[in-house]
Each structure stands twice: as C-alpha cells, then as structure tokens.
Symmetry: D2
C-alpha cells in the first residue's frame, strides 16, 4: 500500500466477504473450480451454518462432523484404492492442503480438516469437491 | 522328476501347446483374465502370426511393431496421466512384468516387450489387455 | 510326479517343515529375503512364541500386538510420507500381501495382519522386514 | 496500487532484476530453497551464460543441452525407480512445473524444459536442485 493511502478496507473486499457465499448458490461445479486459499492467522473455523451451505457442493457420501469431513470409497482391488489415493495426494500438493488418507484392501478413507483454524475451513470443502471429481472421472 | 523317469514330454503339456491359443478365440476379457507366466530360457519371441492373433485381445490403439507394442494415452491433466501410470506400476509389480512408462503433461506412453525372448511374448499382450481395463474403468 | 514314483514325502521336505524356523536364527537380512507364501486354509495364526522369534527380524519400532503389527514413520514432508507409502504399495502388490496404510502430513502408519488366519502370519513379518529395508535405503 | 501512486518502477524491483542472480553465488542449497515462479508472457529463454551460472546449483549428473536439462538415475529395482518418480510427480504438482519422466526397470530419466519460453528457464534449475535433494535423501 502506498504511503498515505487511507487505512480503510476497500469496498470490493467488503463486498466479497459479505456476498461471497451468498452471491451464487454453491454447486459441485462452482466449488471444484475454486482453489484452496491461504488461511490468515486468527481465522475462525466455519460455523455449522456455513458448513451446511458448503455441503451443497460435495457428494452426499461425505460425512460432516464438527471438526472434520470424511468420505469412504470402496473398490474391488487394492490397485484402484491406491490409484485414487495417489491422485488425491497429487491434488493435495497442488492445492497445498492435505487430507489424511487410509488405504486398505479395496477401501480408501479420506479425512479433511484445517489444523490452523482448529476445525473446518472452506478449503476442506474445495478439496472434497475436487476429490469427488477425481473419483467420478 | 524322479530318477529314471522317461525323458519325453508329457501329453498334457503337448496338448496345451497345441490347443492353447486355438482352443478359444482371444477376447479382451479372456486375455485380461490371464496372468503373466514365467518365461523359460530359450523361448522364442512370438511370430508375426501369433502376435496378430493376440492383437484381437487388446484395444485398437496399441501399435504393434516387430519388437514391442506401444500405446499412447492423452489426458487433460498431469494428475490423470500420473494416476494411470501408478496403477500400471502396481499392476506390473503384481504380474512381475514391467513396461516402460513415459509421463508428460497430459500424456502417458506405455511400451511393452520381453527382454528375455528378445521381442514380444504373450505376457506383453496380457499386460496390454489389463492396462486397457485399468484405463477404461 | 512321474508314474510309479513312490508316494512318500521326500526327506528334505520333512526336514524343511521340521527345522524351518529353527534351522537358523532369524535376522533382518534373512527375513527380508523370504517371499510371502500362500496361506493354506485352516492355518492357525502365529503363537506368541513364534511371533516373538520372528520379531528378531524386524526393526525395534514395530509394535507387536496380539492380532497385528504396526509401525509409525515420521517425516518432514507429505512428499516423503507418500513416497514411502507408494513403495510399500508396490511391494504389497509384488508380494500379494497388503498392509493398511495411513498417510498424514509427515506421518505414515503401517499395519499388518493376515485376515485368512485371523491374526498374524509369517507373511506379516516378511513384509515388515522388507518395509524396514525400503525405509532405510 | 493506490490512486495517484507514481507510475515508475520501484527501486527494489529494479535492483532485484539487476542483481538477482549475481547478488550471491548459486549453490544447491540456495537453489533448492527457491520456488518455481510464474513465467510472464514474452520472457526469453535463459542464455547459455545464465544457464551455466545456474548449473552450479545442480548435480554434475545433469546434462545441460540448449533446450532442456536431463538426468538419468539408475536403481536396482523398479520399486525404487517408481518411488522416486512419484516423489518428483508430487513435487511437480506443488511447484506447478512438470518434467517428462521415463520409468523403466531400475531406471528413471527426468527431462526439464519450459514450454512457454521455448527453452530453459530458472524454474527448470529450481526443479533440478529440488529433485537432487529428493534423490539424495
């Protein structure tokens, strides 16, 4: 910011915060197009209401708990389970947001939460929507 | 073999060689159900005719040359290309037969040949049929 | 077996069964050279004594419980954790014996047990010794 | 930029461009700490002199050609080769810069170049230095 610029929030920033999640309904397509953003220190976790509104963008198989979201995938082979785990690992590195992955025979469990907010953030739902897309395609 | 056993081929082995590939037409399903077998020392590479008959079991995208078979897959993302490469790598370890894999942005090239016969073996076509199935599912 | 061969077990087979685990002390090197074998129906799980003797072949970090063995690896990055998970997945496909893998940020937990015996088998320790070798090299 | 700020380049930006690569000698440690940056449209490829100076930050095994850099790794197993390929793939997604990877039995070839500049960029050397670190650790 240039010296002397007024120390007031800019209008577009205010509008973005205000209208962000309300501007358009959340869909799997819209959520999967977003990128995980850096979380600023002090950001609170999503409220139950906020999480509920983002849930419209992820598959019904996601179980949404207070502190994390979780989806279990089943497969006929270890090969298929580890194949999806690898694609999720690559996605996690690209987005800078990492799930917990549990791989067993024909089974993959994905858990998402955001350590720095002590609960759920929008990033968890963005990852979930992108993982849904990987699993379906 | 017990001492003194006669050094003649066993009848079932002869029949298996004679009737093997002719007993039933090769299909993608039948070929993908076979497992790669150990190659005995001195086994010759497939003849052009044998390779041609096995080609009925693999996708039309496989390019069949004298010494190798090759298929190129294209994808929209590096993630998808490396995901398939990983599934092929896991398959290769399970079957004990390893392709050459080239991964680039949105592109995967798979090359199969059998070093110990100095050309193509049935194992290359079994792997190809199984890779086709991974790519389609 | 050639026609007319006597239907008695061969001496070396008898000795191998009798002296197998006792013939030589278990070391990490000896155990990591073994391959996972198919488990015959009805095979019982290892006794505590047998598991204890095989424990000499695996790293001290393995926690040996009644029904499973478990090792946790820690890393500075997700990249390193998932890299080892991938090598273990490839090994599992080659050996036909699959662990449970849990990958988190900088952390990999490996769990081994043998479903078909309802507990631990020698295969779990062979895999553990081979995983130790992957982790060290 | 705040309204009314003068439309001249800032001094620190000028100095950074001028002194950038010259400010301190390139070492493997310094290069591996950099992150791949977005390349602006119209950026020219590195000159031979620039590439030569960055070469101080990568292992001697990298072969530096006009349009690409290339390193071949050899291993005793397919497992080890594919394990490093996976770690490089994860790194590539994190950095947003992707090499060509060729995996064969006990062998991995990595090729780096920057399509958008039509040759080599600093990003290729940053990736190379980071890959060296993965391979050594």
């Amino acid at each position: 910011m240039a010296l002397g610029a007024p120390a007031v929030p800019r209008l577009d920033a205010i509008l973005s915060v205000m209208s962000g999640p309300r501007a358009a309904p959340i869909t799997p397509e819209s959520l999967a197009r977003e990128r995980c953003a850096e979380i600023r220190a002090g950001t609170p976790p999503l409220t139950t209401e906020e999480a509920g509104s983002l849930a419209a963008g992820v598959a019904g198989e996601w179980q949404i708990d207070e502190g994390e979201i979780r989806r279990e995938f089943t497969f006929k082979t270890f090969n298929a389970a580890f194949g999806l785990a690898t694609r999720i690992a690559l996605l996690a590195e690209a987005q800078g947001h990492h799930p917990e992955l549990e791989v067993g025979w024909g089974r993959l469990v994905v858990r998402l939460s955001t350590h720095s907010v002590g609960g759920l953030s929008r990033n968890d739902f963005i990852m979930a929507a992108r993982i849904d897309r990987l699993a379906g395609g």
